[in-house]
């Protein structure tokens, strides 16, 4: 049995309250999703029965996954494709540019850096309408690329990479140069292998941003073909108002891939968010 000292009792009590505050709504989501009887859901809503599963039926899940109007698998695939394409392109192009800005010799580095710092201040939300017009002019509305490309333009990502690269020791870069490495090779074989922590920090933050994206995908998708989960969820929520069992099954199905992904990467995830703000 664990011995508790008095100093730990009060924090433990608070920790339990915190855990319950987080878990109770989630338990309710799971409980309702496992109940195939919509009438029973309505009756038990608000009682303890809506927090502790009484029945374990996958019927709601089967209905959600096989719904012909809202193809769940398609939405999931869309979201995964958009998220990972954006992440890969963004990290590749932005780290490359940041390396030039931090360690290169180009005379335009300074004005480019000023431009990037200035764009940091522009909230993405204020750009969506002209971006939508531009997508329309190029005939790209309702596609994957219209949801991927805007996420690649990420001044914050360039800035974070820049901060990291500018702290690399000059001797290291110089040594690689003397060994006959070209500038790109130094980036590829010296700088990038050293940047795993900063890459994972940027990847985690951008992952959450894209996986959660809502305003932009609402504007640029017209139907299930290219629609991501976040928009699909709200459409599903809007059209099945009474079917709480199905809505919650949809919600659980949408939440589980992310939770699994982060449980696997939990250590890196916590470290990433913790380092995202203060240090640097």
């Amino acid at each position: 049995m664990m011995r508790l000292n008095r100093d730990a009792m009060l924090p433990l009590l608070f920790a339990l309250v915190l855990a319950l505050g987080v878990l109770l709504p989630l338990m309710m989501m799971v409980t309702i999703s496992l109940n195939p009887n919509e009438q029973d859901i309505m009756v038990s809503m608000g009682s303890l029965r809506s927090f502790i599963p009484q029945v374990f039926s996958l019927q709601n899940y089967i209905e959600v996954w096989t719904d012909p109007v809202h193809p769940f698998a398609r939405y999931l695939a869309n979201t995964a494709l958009i998220t990972f394409s954006t992440l890969i392109l963004s990290i590749f192009f932005n780290s490359m540019a940041a390396f030039v800005l931090a360690q290169g010799t180009l005379p335009i580095r300074k004005p480019v850096m000023i431009l990037i710092l200035a764009t940091l201040a522009v909230p993405g939300e204020s750009l969506v309408l002209p971006q939508l017009m531009m997508a329309g002019w190029l005939g790209q509305v309702d596609s994957y690329q219209v949801q991927i490309v805007p996420g690649v333009a990420n001044a914050m990502s360039i800035f974070l990479f820049y901060q990291f690269f500018s702290r690399l020791p000059k001797e290291l870069i110089e040594a690689a140069r003397i060994d006959g490495f070209s500038f790109f090779q130094i980036y590829r074989h010296v700088a990038m292998p050293l940047s795993k922590p900063v890459i994972s920090a940027i990847a985690v933050l951008q992952f959450l941003e894209i996986w959660n994206a809502y305003l932009w995908p609402v504007m640029v998708t017209r139907g299930p073909e290219y629609r991501p989960l976040s928009v699909a969820m709200s459409a599903y929520f809007g059209t099945n108002q009474a079917a709480w069992g199905n809505i919650m099954a949809f919600a659980v199905s949408m939440a589980i891939p992310v939770i699994l992904f982060f449980l696997i990467l939990q250590r890196q995830f916590i470290a990433s968010v913790m380092s995202s703000g203060v240090k640097g």
């Binding site: 878990l23 333009a153 996986w211």
Partner: protein, 295 residues
Amino acid sequence: MRIRTKGQGQELAMLLPALFFIIALIVTPFLLSVWFSFTDQRLVPRPIPTKFIGTTNYERMFVDPLFWQAIWNTVVFALIVTPVQLAMSLGAAMVLNSAIPFRGFFRSIAILPLLLPMTVIVSIWAVLFRIPAGPFNAVYQWFAGQGNYVDFLGNPSTAMLSVVALSAWATFPYQMLIYLAGLQDIPQDLYEAAKLDGAKPWQRFRYITWPGLRNVNIFLLIITTVGALKLFTQVDILTKGGPNGATTTIIHYLFKQGYATQKVGYASAVAVFFFLAVTAIALLQRRFLKNEGEA
């Protein structure tokens, strides 16, 4: 520009793609929205050509009561959610930084809301807010008696507070993790010394923890405020800006004007205003930072 060596050609090739994306997808739309804000641009082209209309959009915007309501709602939201969320996050961080058993387990639980997509969280909270017998109303009925309920989302006086509660729950783990990092940066021997001197827990918080978190606090104050000013997803799904405009925010107003009613010119004026307001707030906070002697 003059390229001196082969190496610089390579540098240019590495810099240009990202620079192109920034110019094409941030700088260009920004300039376009400034231009649109002085025109009667529509989302879908009309037979009549778009024309320059001077400051008409701005004049209209400043006399639209719904615009002022959106600003008021957004400011109220930011002013309430920022302290609430920061207090929650700091409290949670201090609890999860103390020597409790199963600390790792509690930390994993506490970050869960951050991992859930906002649309999922909104649908869960829609159940919590249900009338007449959702979980919150069940609790309310304990106190107010059977048959009484609060229409959390349908009543203009409670709708925004409901969105505040939902939003604080949804995103507090982010601030909590940054506070945790800040708490771990405070040297432990300060606490030991204070304990030896007989400092009470409150005094230790007041004279060690709070000053030690100064930079973290300023940083979190900025990002939480700016994040709050962008409120959109929650109100769009949950209340559609209603009831009676009680949860219409600036971004929701912009979205409705520019996308739903297709008045891109007018909405661009709103976007320019929003940009200026956010920049002004960020600059004020940066000046504050400087005055505090931040290195």
